[in-house]
Symmetry: C2
Subunit: 614 residues, 2 copies
């Protein structure tokens, strides 16, 4: 069966269209890729198990010696091939990943839909069952391995009716078949489980301290691992947004996580427990509860109580993948606990893979505030789907690519990784490559400018999370309010307000507490400000809001001009241009709605006389 030509290889265009399918191990895959690649130098492979996932590349005779652990060799082979294709220096010397787990979380449902998916339907499921193209699975595995990802969770953290079967007898042989497709690429599968699954299995409770529950999970883990011996583990979203969990039984999340972890431990499996817990039925009149404080409140006191094979997976910010948030304070509060940093490639709040939004500069900001050593793994919500190009917008692939690189090395330079993606994907003339590079590098800031100002968050259309709705969440149950009135906007999260800032270490807290030292782009996250408050540069807050929105929209128009000047492959050009039309419409709508919203409240006209509708 020939591969449909329109399943693009994104940044792996340097490789043959068909992925190796005879290889049984990563080492064999590495050999096959190197042999098949047009441009590869002569490379001898050597297995050095002590290198684990790392590799070492050194000159040898007329070619090179690539030594590494089983998957390390494969990573090395891809790095080498990509360097060749990009015309870069080969990655000589020793390399090893910073984080042992570099996970991709797919929010795919068995019915074929993807929660917050913007690239078509599921690559794995359709109509309530497994349904995938094996060739495409290998391509996907190849993409992940090429940038060092090693764990793929294939189903939504919100586990529905059908997905329970992923760990039931009927579906396990199929899960094993899928795992076998990814294994030669060093990618281990993970599955999201329903904390309350034992209730379906005849156990009358899901109390984590009940021996029957522990026994049920032990037997279940034994069964699952008998089919997929290298399963990476289970991922759990419990007591969150109406999901069941230990709270039902008056137990802590340590009780719940450790019980599951003990079932996985004999198999070397990891239990990944998401910390996205908050009151999603808040009353907007309640001024005491402050949603960003929730994760800390629910978990910090449990530090040190989790088993060694438990990882708490914490979203980068305390809200939910907004355009700009401070780093979650939980990362500083649990030094004795394994933590994974979770980011979201799916552009849920960041443009639905319609608007261009390259994330590496954002991740750099996270690591600027968060020493990489504070976490021991990374996870990313997938932006993949069944679309021909996998990511909807062809440029969205840069985020998948760069995520892998960043999880491998958190010190990855955003500018360099975006440059590499541009070059591997498009081979444009230098001036055009520079233009595309600049466009991507600036794209997040442009989006930020025309959406909610200065870390205010949540001024989006409820449910869809696309498009402006300044009041969409103001009286809702989600704990996400800005309380804009005729004089001021924002929640005071300092010690004079909800006290959220105090969840950070003292030095950070002090920085956020003080309006003079608080990062400007987070001012409205931490402070309630009057429209006539004067910013560091002398502008008033209201003028700054207007300026950002006009500028953001102008800059989006400039992005459109740049895009039109690029000689992209026809298919990508068409998709990107069609989406840019929508991005511009969206940007203008966002600019006008936001400016009008604040103008109606403040009554202050734009100092520069630009059009604000009344």
């Amino acid at each position: 069966m020939t591969k449909p030509a329109n399943h693009t290889l994104t940044w792996l265009k340097c490789l043959p269209e068909t992925a190796p399918c005879a290889a049984k191990t990563p080492m064999e895959t590495a050999r096959a890729e190197l042999d098949a690649a047009a441009c590869a130098p002569k490379v001898e492979l050597a297995l050095e198990p002590s290198l684990g996932e790392g590799f070492r590349l050194e000159p040898q005779g007329e070619g090179y010696l690539l030594a590494g652990g089983e998957t390390g060799v494969l990573y090395g082979a891809y790095r080498l091939l990509m360097a060749c294709a990009a015309g870069d220096a080969l990655p000589l010397g020793s390399h090893a990943p910073y984080y042992a787990l570099r996970m991709l979380n797919c929010w795919d449902n068995a019915d074929g839909t993807i929660e917050r998916g913007y690239s078509g339907r599921s690559l794995f499921f359709e109509g309530g069952r497994f349904d995938y193209d094996p060739d495409r699975m290998r391509q996907l595995a190849r993409m992940l391995a090429s940038v060092g990802m090693n764990v793929l969770c294939i189903n939504n953290v919100n586990v529905h009716e059908n997905e329970h079967q992923l760990i039931e007898e009927a579906w396990l042989p199929q899960l094993a078949e899928l795992a076998a497709l990814f294994r030669p690429y060093g990618v281990r599968l993970m599955v999201s489980i329903d904390y309350a699954h034992p209730l379906r299995g005849g156990v009358p409770t899901a109390d984590p301290l009940d021996a029957r529950v522990a026994q049920w999970w032990k037997e279940r883990a034994d069964l699952v691992y008998s089919y997929v011996p290298d399963l990476a583990g289970f991922l759990v979203k419990a007591d969150s947004e109406h999901r069941p969990g230990p709270f039902t039984y008056g137990r802590t999340h340590a009780d719940g996580a450790n019980m599951l972890a003990k079932a996985l431990a004999p198999h070397g499996g990891t239990l990944v427990w998401r910390c996205f817990v908050y009151n999603c039925m808040q009353d907007w009149r309640d001024t005491v509860t402050d949603r960003p404080m929730a994760a800390y409140q629910h978990y910090a006191y449990l530090d040190g109580q989790f088993d060694g094979n438990v990882i708490l997976q914490v979203k980068n910010g305390p809200f939910d993948f907004q355009v700009r948030e401070p780093v979650s304070p939980l990362f500083y509060a649990m030094p004795k606990t394994n933590l994974a940093l979770e980011v979201q490639l799916a552009q849920e709040y960041t443009g639905h893979q319609t608007d261009i939004y390259a994330m590496p500069p954002m991740w750099k900001e996270i690591f600027d505030d968060l020493p990489p050593s504070r976490v021991m793994a990374m996870a990313a919500v997938s932006n993949l789907g069944r679309d021909e190009n996998y990511t909807g917008h062809p440029f969205a692939a840069v985020n998948l690519f760069a995520y892998g690189m960043t999880a491998w090395d958190p010190a990855t330079d955003p500018a360099q990784v975006i440059r590499l993606w541009c070059r591997l994907t498009y081979s444009l003339p230098a001036q055009q490559e520079d233009a595309l590079h600049a466009l991507l590098m600036g794209s997040r800031r442009v989006y930020e400018k025309y959406t909610a100002p200065l870390g205010l968050c949540w001024m989006v259309e409820p449910h869809t999370h696309y498009g402006p709705s300044p009041m969409g969440y103001e009286y809702a149950l989600w704990g996400t309010y800005h309380k804009a009135n005729r004089d001021a906007v924002g929640i005071d999260r300092t010690s004079r307000g909800t006290g959220y800032a105090a969840q950070y270490p003292a030095e950070m807290a002090a920085r956020y507490e003080n309006r003079e030292t608080c990062p400007e782009l987070l001012l409205l996250f931490f402070h309630r400000m009057r429209y006539d408050d004067v910013m560091a540069d002398g502008r008033t807050l209201i003028q700054r809001i207007y300026d950002d929105h006009f500028e953001g929209c102008d800059e989006a128009e400039e992005m459109a001009r740049v895009l039109a000047s690029l000689d992209l492959p026809p298919q990508d050009a068409q998709t990107a241009h069609e989406r840019m039309v929508r991005q511009l419409r969206n940007a203008r709508e966002w600019r006008d709605v936001t400016n009008t919203f604040f103008y109606r409240l403040s009554g202050v006209p734009d100092a520069k006389g630009r059009k604000i509708y009344d």
Copy 2:
């Protein structure tokens, strides 16, 4: 087959549980109902075709003579039976309906859902096909006939895939069977059609001036009437909210309606054409387009151009069944055209049959402004569904009952008709009946008070149309804006603004134009007002808004106390109480959200110091 006891007979509890099923004509039905009723006096029936739908009741010997046209006799019989049951004087003398067509429009879909239905699933359809209980159809027919309704349109004006079949060969025998169930009750069926149906039937156009189109509809009408010879006609929603229509072909709605009417004319059928046409893709920045002006703009100039068997069906107000609107100006603009007044029993914007909302006082207001002679028919969007009590909330049945009475006689007194419904339905002790009567009479004003103020409209949750969302429609495409800012709220629809008021006859226009003479409860429909503007009673607008919202909520709580004091049948009591809990929660939410919204904008505290959240 015995009738499930839980299919209540609402106000027809005086009748036997099972409707007559052997009767073939309304006269036979009348005889059977009179014979079976426990309380009926001795009545002789006489057919007097000249009386049409009217009847005459006169004493005769020890009993009465009831003479009438074929359906008139049946109407007389029900009126007599209800008078007996209520202990009222018998309806002696001559009676005839004011309007020849008294229509009920069901927005039922073949899949079993009901658009804007709040009483369960469709009574007629399920799973893409006809699916009904014949006994229940007779009960429904009886309910309609008892208050004089004579036309039942069974499917949604938004015609979807499956409902096309209603006028296609495969479904026509079933349509005929259903018609046969209603015929003995004097109720004629009507069907909603898709204007573009010929395109499915092999005609390459739906241009109303194309002879092939006219021929297709002629043949189609001939076919339909060969199955249902007394079909009342077709109902059409064209060029509205994305429905196809004559505009596609550059033709007027007179062209479209007349073409269809000519197909129906040989069969005595009526073509009912809805006038709900407006731009549902408006830009909120557009201050020239004013949605309430749309129907007048689209139709007034066509006055006199419609065939005699065309009726233009006009919603009572220029928007869309809001809690309070002025009468549609179209009713004054088309003296040479048949017009039907359309009201909505389904509580789309008026509480979803969760909140209590008795409509007769609202209809009285309509007829206070609109001489009944301006229209020649009435139509009501149904509030019925498969729920045991047909209307979700048991009290919602009062609207169906009173609508029939009002369509028969627009001078019907709201207080009297509500009193009669209370008595027939519940036989409560006098004091309780008075309390229920007062509760129902006041219910609309209570709902109005805690929702959007003074005719402002549209401060509801988009899509569902239930619950407060002060900004829900503010930046949307629907042409429904209030432009509230820190100083003022409302659209100026006078000659100084959009000019909407000028669509009315001079005297009315002058009344609305002038803030002194404009009805107070419509002030914010016609005028943009500052929060500190002083009302006739000396209060400021902002204080009036606060007062209404606090009072409305208090009054809802008083309604709850009254409800709790009534000795209702257990099933009705349970349903009503359960819904009252939700109504109260809703009322409080609406009060607080609306007050906070205006407080944040205006900065004006409540003069009486009540709690407004900031």
